[in-house]
């Protein structure tokens, strides 16, 4: 069984900075901002009107499409406005949001008695999980109910719970596994039931001993032999969905395919814990754990934060900025995005906020020409040839970008990191993807048009043949009658 990861890098994790202190809830804030499009897929549609009184946990927006998610109020209070506000997932561009004025009373929706999940049918449980507003908390924020339904019917599905938090600086999953391992295991078992899966692997990196022992104890307490704990080498990006599936199950997710194609559903440990809070305790997804770290903030730690809390309030909660603060990043140091300011809310995707000083940032010199050293190809975990992709991206050669597998690039940034010429490769690949996607979409719609055209041609032919046959039959009958 393969346990290694192809390519990748051993990086300084910088996680111990934020895991020394225990998890604590963030201080309450007066105004919470909930962008309606904070999950993958269609934006949610508001269910409330400005001025309306709402309770914590009350649904405030419903899914706007098949792939979309519910939103719940993170606090009790009133709806102050529904208006565009700067959103971190749009790098500060405004996005329609529900603004909640917190009254500080923390009144919750009355909890209805919950049936144990074992008594529900898998479809029912999937529907319930969808109603909890649960999306993938690893960063992709894909609606969990839609992912669970993507699993192929009639196959043995494996559940992979991803606790391999490979990106430097981020430690929200580590702290969750240390302090709330029982929630993770409960959520994993509920998700297995929702999938009718018979096996579940919780994968963690081998440099997280506390998390491993906590999870081991929780699995032992659950008395469920179907759940196992596996450790993978802590190499970035071991926790990438495709990379982890290959490391654990020794199968490769096909190019252009989904984990469902190899009968696997991969979900983050945070997602599993959110499922536990909803399915067991009736608490929808209204808060998440966020790592606040970097040399630019006084106190580096993990906070449990109500969604919609401004990033500025988190920094304040952690003692404020230090004089060395130079750049605010949402996400990890490799794949995170720079934010222009901190007046933006925590959303479901916010796993980490780095207030980076110059010490945290990779110093970048001016870009030099590619010398074709091939380092990038050695570290690429997706087995691509970044040096070739680079040429084709410069020439905007979509044909070659497609054949060289641009769409398989996971934008992990390993190629940038090792490039001696300081070429921002991942950024360049990210920029080229929309053009290629547009072309692939055009091809798909042409293929669909061909199928419809062929079906129509066949239908017209069949109708004509039927008409001729009926005519011939009538002629025959007439001839019989007259004879």
């Amino acid at each position: 069984m393969a346990t290694g990861v192809r390519g990748g890098l051993r990086l300084d994790a910088h996680k111990e900075r934020s895991t020394e202190q225990a998890l604590r809830p963030a201080s309450a804030v007066e105004t919470l901002v909930m962008p309606l499009d904070q999950h993958a897929g269609a934006a949610a549609v508001p269910l409330v009107k400005p001025g309306e009184r709402i309770l914590r946990g009350q649904p405030i927006a419903e899914p706007g499409g098949a792939i979309s998610a519910w939103l719940h109020s993170p606090a009790s209070g009133t709806v102050a406005a529904i208006e565009p506000r700067p959103a971190p997932h749009r790098l500060g561009a405004p996005s329609l949001s529900i603004v909640v004025a917190n009254d500080g009373r923390d009144e919750r929706v009355a909890e209805s008695a919950r049936q144990p999940f074992e008594q529900l049918a898998p479809e029912q449980l999937r529907e319930i999980i969808g109603r909890g507003g649960i999306v993938g908390l690893g960063g992709a924020v894909f609606p969990t109910a839609a992912k669970l339904s993507s699993a192929r019917k009639g196959h043995d599905v494996r559940l992979l719970i991803n606790g391999a938090e490979c990106e430097p600086y981020i430690s929200c999953d580590d702290i969750l596994m240390r302090e709330r391992a029982h929630d993770v295991v409960f959520g994993a078992r509920a998700l297995m039931h929702a999938l009718a899966a018979q096996t579940c692997v919780i994968a963690i990196e081998d440099d997280t001993p506390q998390a491993a022992s906590a999870l081991g104890a929780a699995i032992a307490d659950a008395h469920d032999a179907r759940v196992q704990l596996r450790r993978v080498a802590s190499i970035y990006p071991a926790g990438g969905e495709r990379q982890l599936i290959t490391a654990i199950f020794d199968v490769e997710v096909p190019s252009g395919g989904l984990p469902a194609d190899v009968n696997t559903v991969c979900l983050n440990v945070g997602t599993a814990a959110a499922v536990a809070h909803w399915v067991r305790d009736g608490q929808p997804l209204t808060n998440r754990i966020v790592t606040i770290t970097g040399d630019g903030v006084l106190e580096q730690r993990n906070l449990e934060v109500p969604l919609g809390t401004p990033l500025a309030a988190l920094i304040y909660d952690c003692g404020g900025y230090t004089g060395r603060m130079s750049r605010l990043i949402m996400g990890g140091s490799m794949m995170g995005q720079s934010l222009p300011h901190d007046d933006m809310p925590v959303i479901k995707a916010t796993n980490c906020v780095i207030a980076a000083s110059a010490l945290d940032l990779q110093p970048r010199a001016a870009e030099m020409p590619c010398i074709r050293c091939g380092n990038c190809a050695e570290v690429c975990p997706a087995m691509l040839l970044p040096q070739q992709l680079h040429w084709y991206a410069l020439g905007r050669n979509l044909d070659e970008l497609e054949t060289h597998g641009l769409m398989d690039c996971i934008e992990c940034g390993c190629c940038d990191y090792v490039c001696p010429s300081q070429i921002p490769l991942a950024e360049r690949f990210r920029d080229m993807k929309p053009a290629l996607l547009e072309r692939l979409a055009a091809r798909n719609s042409a293929d669909a048009a061909r199928v419809r055209f062929d079906a129509r041609t066949a239908r017209l032919e069949r109708i004509e043949n039927e008409r001729l046959a009926a005519l011939a039959k009538k002629r025959q009958e007439l001839a019989k009658k007259s004879s």
């Binding site: 055009a442 042409a446 048009a449 061909r450 419809r452 055209f453 129509r456």
Partner: protein
Amino acid sequence: MLPALLTMVGLAAAAGAAAALATRRSSDNQERLIDEIDALLPQTQCGRCTFSGCRPYATALANSEADINQCPPGGHATAIALAKLLGREPKPVDPRFGSVPVHPLVAWIDESACIGCLKCIQACPVDAIVGASRFMHTVIAEQCTGCELCIPPCPVDCIIMRPAPA
């Protein structure tokens, strides 16, 4: 005498079989080439190339009975791709076959004027119009290829081309 005759007959039979096989293989190759050409065409089925659809045009191209620059919806990119595939000299789309659209357009039915005559539905080559006799018709914008074949049959001129929705 007999061995010589047998040899001759045997040789003739072998040559015949080889020829038959080669013919079949070349027709297989031809089919494959037509598939490859068809995959490059935009599948609007608009007939602007003077053939009755994309596949007939692909067949004509494979048989060297048509030029590579007859597909305005595909634009210059398609002409270049065809030239590359067929090893011919690239050239821009011949304006005699129609102008290359700058933005993708789709048909739109003014539903207040539609009389429900079914004529556009019968003309649509890709089943992108829904409606029934004496009921309002509408275009499924995502499935419309912009071939414009529905426009001439409309007796009340209630169909116009509009930019495709994003």
